[in-house]
Symmetry: C2
Subunit: 429 residues, 2 copies
């Protein structure tokens, strides 16, 4: 992608009402724009990050045979009356009256709707188990939307739902999702900690959240700090149940608080096994050889549009964002410092095409801007590898390759550059 | 994908209140489910078709260098007051009041918001031209939502927007989108006709719609029937302007109605060149070497969620849907008629994996169902190629390959089947 044709409206100045580093950097790097309180547009650079996250989540859900669907944003109040959540959900639910005076609402979550869907179609135990997911905009009318997309009113969420024949199968499904979530966050380059959570308004009795520990986080979690160095990806259910980590609400309820330290964090995922809570209120019965039963259900959410902000909160320096390569909008940022020089520009054009032809994401700064502006934009945007074509190219046909994370720089002859870049993109840090 | 793990809740019976063939077939094939009046969920099979359409539209927009963004569904009334459309839009606009008594609305379109975005960031003629698109849910509170996703209240739309320095450049951009739309519909396997349209509430003076001619369509267009056999893909602006085809509203205004015949049709796309209408109401000025000017704008929409219905309306028979290969949920439907037979099932499993390994989309009906049910489901779902493993496999190691479109059937030895399938998938009809 050429910078001249990719709209990245970077800003030099922070806005005074922006309190969180990630919010400031997302606004200044032209990733997002506030349209009204708690409601944002994703500009080209921001959308590209979002798309990478979505693609990864879809791929890993599909691989597990979880069926993708798309439920609507607007729901009828009828189904929320059945579950008795229409009155109890409170002011965070955005309530709407249509032209025919019918009560609608903007879905904050989809337990009711998926239960209605299940009830219509799933008639026999032979139709079970079933697992669905969708990626859809949600709305929660927060009283104090803040920190940009971190606590927005309109946000993008992946929510999955499961139907099983009984509790044992439900728990196995829950365990599968637990491990899937660790895999997803690991592949996104985000080191999350699973913590035991109360199940709150969704109901049920088994629930975990997935938190990113970061000094500036809004949440507080309590855990045995040994967990920070441990991979939980191969946990079985009993290990999941005995995890020594808790949300603050859950922490209040437990007795043995030994070895637990407090950490600030950001919640990125939340899973619930709520059993027959909704199948029961919907009177959703299924036939089996031994009579009727109610399917055992769970729900599994990831706050997609919050992820870029959380990652930036963890990974930035004074000059801007430092993207982990898994969700960086591009892998390589080619900077041409002499666009008026035919030799430089022809070389960069050729180099850009060659990198692209190897299926490497590259942003090519071909703008007619001063070097200082190009460098500061590159540091602000935070692509992992900067390749600079400047005076050394004219003097001795050398490029500079700079790692955004630690600013290590090497100079290399143009003939060896592509091989070196490919090697560095595969780096393991 | 195995049918047993892909949720396709087919229904035998039509619902009596369903009036349109495509609506009936989409409900019965388990593609969509009505959640409330004019609001639908897309089930796994339906979502798969939607995704193929989205992928193609994204690919062709990206190829043209149009930047993808994501604007929110909920908008502030403030920007609609600036354009004076808040009061004039009427009851189709879903108006919402949030917990702080602020007037919001569910966006029916995004001209106002993109103009506000442009105004904030585009300060100089050097920032032009710019082209953006997004794929986002829209809501129009139709007085009589009907025909399923054909005239839904909540629907998925691709809308693009352009900013140019002046009218000449704006017209060139308009011409580019016109041709891009013909390319998109052609690659989706949908033979659309471009028709001249009045620009209505969007404003401006150049507008075309893209219609699929089909006997059961809701719209009426008037055109020289020679156009039906003509490709417009390489049209230039003067040819676009002199097209002899009109929407019914436009038809009323023209004088020379010679050679124009009336056709029923479905509108799938709509483009507008509205010039400075919005940049003017937003006081959106840009600097140039000769003083300030207002950018020349256009908008370009495709009704994504309406496309599957339109295609089905055109392409079905008594037994069900007949998908064109470009947007078929799968390319091949493998039907195992003897799932209890180890030899058959082992063969099908191997065959399924082999087809998949060649990156061919395959649905494998591995269910324990009677042959009659499997055949009727396959015809209903409408995948272009059915591969049947039944008694001939047991007798003489032969499979049957059936074309859904004309029910032509050939029997072929298992050793030659894959080659034949690959050949048939590339068929040109």
């Amino acid at each position: 992608m050429k910078f001249s044709n990719f709209f990245i409206p970077t800003l030099k100045e922070s806005s005074s009402d922006v309190k969180m580093r990630s919010h400031d950097l997302m606004i200044r790097s032209g990733m997002i724009r506030q349209e009204t309180s708690g409601i944002y547009s994703w500009m080209p650079l921001g959308f590209r990050v979002l798309k990478k996250i979505i693609d990864k989540i879809e791929f890993l859900h599909d691989e597990k045979g979880i069926n993708q669907i798309l439920m609507p944003t607007i729901q009828s109040s009828d189904i929320w009356r059945i579950s008795n959540r229409y009155d109890t959900y409170g002011k965070e639910m955005l309530r709407i009256i249509d032209r025919n005076n019918k009560d609608l609402l903007y879905g904050p979550t989809n337990e009711e709707m998926i239960t209605a869907i299940g009830k219509q179609y799933i008639k026999s135990y032979k139709n079970l188990p079933r697992r669905f997911y969708h990626i859809q905009t949600k709305f929660r009318d927060e009283i104090r939307p803040r920190y940009g997309v971190m606590r927005a009113r309109e946000f993008l969420m992946k929510d999955a739902y499961s139907f099983d024949i009984d509790e044992v199968n439900g728990e196995n499904t829950y365990c599968d999702f637990f491990k899937l979530y660790l895999k997803i966050f690991s592949q996104l380059g985000i080191p999350v900690i699973p913590v035991r959570a109360p199940s709150g308004e969704i109901g049920g009795n088994l629930s975990h959240e997935f938190h990113l520990v970061v000094r500036t986080g809004e949440s507080e979690i309590f855990l045995d700090s040994k967990l920070l160095d441990q991979s939980c990806e191969n946990f079985e259910l009993d290990q999941i149940l005995s995890l020594n980590s808790y949300t603050d609400d859950y922490f209040k309820e437990i007795e043995n608080k030994k070895n637990l330290e407090k950490f600030k964090s950001i919640e990125l995922g939340h899973i619930f096994l709520f059993g027959t809570k909704y199948s029961s209120s919907f009177n959703f019965n299924v036939d089996s050889e031994n009579g009727k039963f109610m399917p055992f259900m769970g729900s599994y959410g990831i706050g997609i549009s919050r992820i870029p902000a959380a990652v930036i909160e963890l990974s930035n320096d004074n000059d801007g964002i430092i993207w982990p390569k898994a969700i960086s909008p591009f892998s390589v940022h080619l900077i041409n410092l002499n666009v008026d020089d035919t030799e430089c520009s022809e070389f960069c054009e050729k180099f850009y095409k060659e990198i692209k032809s190897r299926d490497i994401d590259i942003l090519y700064d071909d703008r007619n801007e001063r070097p200082g502006k190009k460098f500061s934009d590159a540091d602000l945007i935070g692509i992992p590898l900067q390749v600079i074509c400047g005076n050394s190219f004219k003097k001795c046909r050398e490029l500079s390759i700079l790692k955004r994370s630690n600013k290590d720089q090497i100079d290399i002859g143009v003939g060896k550059a592509i091989k070196k870049i490919i090697e560095m993109i595969g780096w393991n840090e």
